[in-house]
């Protein structure tokens, strides 16, 4: 299906409700619809045309067009197309019908829309606060343009004692509180497990402890070329994907393209990052289930990659390589033999670890059949990355929406049919080996030439836009840029992969035992074992018991030991 056919289909079905169409490229279309028709249009895209929900971006366009714009971004993977459904709502009545009942993956996105912009999703099944801290005053929406940068409410205001409205525990269950501090996690987060005996019946999640307000910085305090450096600091593990994704997006909005060599360098660094991230994850996953040898070995193998990154970029992490229009540093010819040498060494050692892990019957027994996520459910929740590929769906942004140099060297998409924790482990291990292959191939085919585009426009007109996805080690990251005045975007929207994956957590751990929760969480590579304390409150007897984190880790490890003894 081409974009013309798609628009034809939508016009045929919805007629005058399709108010305007803006085609950026043949693969990126923005459709403006009447606010009343948002739900049917999104449903038609999702149910009938097989589109996958990515994210919602709300834009305060009151100064330009006197309205709030709400952009629901979808991806049509087989057709390599992005479709944005835009509805404009008047400021005096900032509400829009919720698409969550029809498109379940929009669950968090619409909660966030209200938190940051104050556009209410009418009919949302769970309109609680998601992003903003508990003590944030009601009715203050940071992404509105009339909220001046730096003019923030003081801590300890009217809502100082507010606490999160947790879901009430289902009858007959006990509550296990996990977090908010975990030792090896992107963000502190709190999880409440509602358990009946050992079985998890339901759970509730309060995250965004490390929300840093980066999108507001992007449209008020930074310039186009400062953002890549801040974007890189969204995540200290896979930061390069964020700066690459932002740069590709901004380049598209400005109508330029980075030179080929720069795109190869981006891809190479992205693959290097994937290797180090997957090895890091493998170590942590081993630690959770009591294989500390895996932790030590995986991190030992990973270390030369960090040294290599330092040699190429000047820093072990947060490379500072990307700028809009290209990269700042070349990969010099002298470093290339060393790069290959390191890659050879890592390949040899990684293969040894992979064989040891895959051949370990205890590990397999511990992980198989736990944290099941069937294909259908994975599709519905729109999970991404190894989590979705472990459910046998070949979704990979490098192939579906090629960026950087992946259009010239497509990687092999690795899937696994088991749909459980074991599948997600195997997918990551095989991807590490595939990344090594890509680096060799990429170095061989890397062309000579400039590393920075020469046609960067002096003035960037407002209201241009671009959208890109980049396959991070954890799944696809999405950046959406709408240009504005003052040499900075009017809106810069970021969605990290864990945002979508974590929404699948309640489904994954339902009916599992408490001992399986850490590794199931770990199999998605966000975070795990709680650090602060674990409190078990028995609802029926009113008894309360405080466990520390070791208790949870011990439960997880004992489950492994039991299998070993079998």
């Amino acid at each position: 299906m081409t974009s013309v056919e798609l628009i034809g289909k939508l016009r045929e079905k919805f007629g005058a409700a399709i108010q305007d169409v803006c085609e950026l490229t043949p693969s990126k279309v923005r459709v403006e619809v009447a606010p009343a028709s948002v739900v049917p249009v999104c449903e038609a895209l999702y149910r009938d045309l097989g589109a996958r929900f990515l994210i919602t971006a709300g834009i305060d366009s009151r100064a330009v067009r006197g309205c709030f714009d709400v952009d629901h971004i979808f991806s049509l993977d087989p057709d390599k197309m992005f479709v944005i459904v835009r509805a404009s709502v008047p400021p005096e009545r900032a509400t829009l019908d919720s698409i969550t009942p029809r498109v379940p993956a929009a669950f968090w996105a619409e909660r966030e829309l209200y938190d940051v912009l104050g556009v209410k999703a009418e009919g949302h099944p769970d309109p609680r606060r998601l992003i903003m801290p508990d003590d944030w005053p009601e009715g203050l929406f940071p992404l509105r343009k009339d909220v001046k940068y730096g003019d923030w409410p003081a801590v300890g205001g009217e809502n100082a004692d507010a606490s999160y409205p947790w879901k009430p525990a289902p009858e007959g269950t006990s509550t296990v509180v996990v977090g908010p501090f975990f030792p090896v996690l992107e963000e502190p987060a709190q999880l409440r497990l509602y358990v009946d005996g050992e079985r998890v019946v339901d759970c509730d999640y309060r995250g965004f402890y490390s929300h840093r307000g980066i999108e507001k910085m992007g449209d008020s305090a930074l310039t186009y070329n400062e953002i890549p450096f801040v974007a890189e600091r969204i995540c200290g593990i896979c930061g390069f994907i964020h700066s690459s994704c932002y740069c590709e997006t901004a380049e598209e909005a400005m109508g330029i393209r980075a030179p080929r060599r720069a795109r190869y360098i981006r891809s190479l660094m992205l693959e290097v990052e994937r290797i180090h991230s997957h090895l890091l994850w493998l170590g942590i996953a081993g630690h959770i289930i009591g294989f500390d040898t895996v932790l030590m070995q995986a991190w030992r193998v990973r270390e030369p990659i960090m040294w290599l990154c330092e040699k190429i970029t000047g820093n072990r992490k947060t490379y500072g390589m990307n700028l809009v229009g290209g990269v700042r540093r070349d990969i010099p010819k002298e470093v290339q033999p060393e790069l290959l040498e390191v890659v050879d060494k890592i390949e040899k050692e990684t293969v040894a670890i992979v064989n040891a892990v895959i051949g370990d019957t205890v590990l397999k027994a511990r992980l198989s059949g736990v944290g099941m996520l069937p294909e259908e459910k994975a599709k519905e929740l729109a999970v991404v990355g190894p989590t979705v590929r472990g459910s046998n769906l070949p979704l990979d942004a490098r192939v579906d929406h090629p960026y950087a140099a992946y259009d010239e060297i497509p990687p092999k998409v690795i899937t696994h049919p088991d749909c459980d924790n074991w599948a997600r482990v195997v997918v990551r291990l095989e991807e590490t080996i595939e990344s090594i292959r890509w680096i060799r191939e990429g170095l061989k085919q890397m062309p000579d030439g400039p590393i920075m585009a020469s046609d960067i426009p002096e003035d960037i007109p407002p209201e241009q836009w671009g959208v890109f996805v980049v396959e991070a080690p954890r799944g696809e990251a999405i950046h959406y840029v709408v240009t504005g005045g003052d040499n900075r975007p009017a809106r810069w929207r970021v969605r990290a992969p864990t945002y979508q994956n974590l929404q699948a957590l309640p489904y994954l751990i339902e009916q599992e035992t408490i001992a399986d929760v850490p590794i199931t969480l770990g199999s998605m590579d966000p975070c795990f074992s709680c650090t602060e304390r674990t409190e078990i409150i028995n609802v029926r007897s009113g008894e309360s018991k405080v466990l520390d984190q070791q208790e949870l880790l011990r439960l997880s490890r004992e489950a492994t030991e039991r299998l070993r003894g079998r």
Binding site: M132, P133, D134, D135, W136, P142, Y149, G150, W152, V155, P180, F181, F182, P183, V184, L185, E186, E187, P188, F208, Y209, S210, H211, R212, G213, I214, K216, M217, A221, F229, V230, R233, I234, C235, G236, I237, G239, L280, G283, L295, M296, W299, R300, E303, M306, N315, R316, K317, T318, S529, T531, E532, R533, D548, Q549, Q550, L553
Partner: protein
């Protein structure tokens, strides 16, 4: 008595450290873990990562303090038995870093806890983290003396009694 001598007296045995992420991007966190893995192996100095603040002597704080995390991190500090030390690890924990003026950020770790030592870097190298802890405990000598700036110089500068700083082109950049 120098502080390092006092510390030797207060913490004569192995240091148990507890790692707190108060809103970090994970860059510092993975370097903290890295310090414990074979190439750096902090355990040979008796430094051990523990999983409860109640067991810890030292808190390693990473990241800028967010509003949401503030009450929790204060509770972690209270749960740590005295005597205790707090290390701010990374640029964000040292002063808020690039996020210092954002709406959800209160600033560096010292906005929430009394910080004893600062280890800057984005992220600090594992060697830097080890070195910082070793210097604090008097295991390694300090290599840099603290720089004391004097207000008087600024006054003289304003009055024009001393020449101000001049821009010098980097070598190789001149015509």
């Amino acid at each position: 008595m120098a502080i390092s001598d006092a510390l030797k007296k207060l913490f004569p045995k192995s240091l148990w450290v507890y790692h707190v992420n108060v809103g970090a991007c994970n860059g510092c966190d993975i370097e903290v873990i890295n310090v414990l893995t074979p190439y750096y192996d902090a355990e040979r100095f008796g430094i051990k990562l523990v999983s409860s603040p109640r067991h810890a002597d030292v808190l390693l704080v990473c990241g800028p303090v967010t509003r949401q995390v503030l009450p929790s991190v204060k509770r972690v500090y209270e749960a740590t038995p005295s005597p205790k030390l707090v290390f701010a690890i990374g640029s964000c924990a040292c002063g808020g870093g690039i996020w210092h003026d954002s709406y959800n950020i209160l600033g560096g770790a010292d906005k929430a806890l009394p910080v004893d030592y600062y280890i800057p870097g984005c992220p600090p190298r594992p060697e830097a983290i080890l070195y910082g802890v070793a210097v604090a405990l008097g295991l390694a000598p300090k290599k840099a003396a603290p720089v004391h700036t004097k207000q008087k110089f600024l006054e003289m500068l304003e009055k024009g009694e001393v020449p101000g700083p001049q821009l010098v082109a980097p070598p190789g950049d001149s015509e």
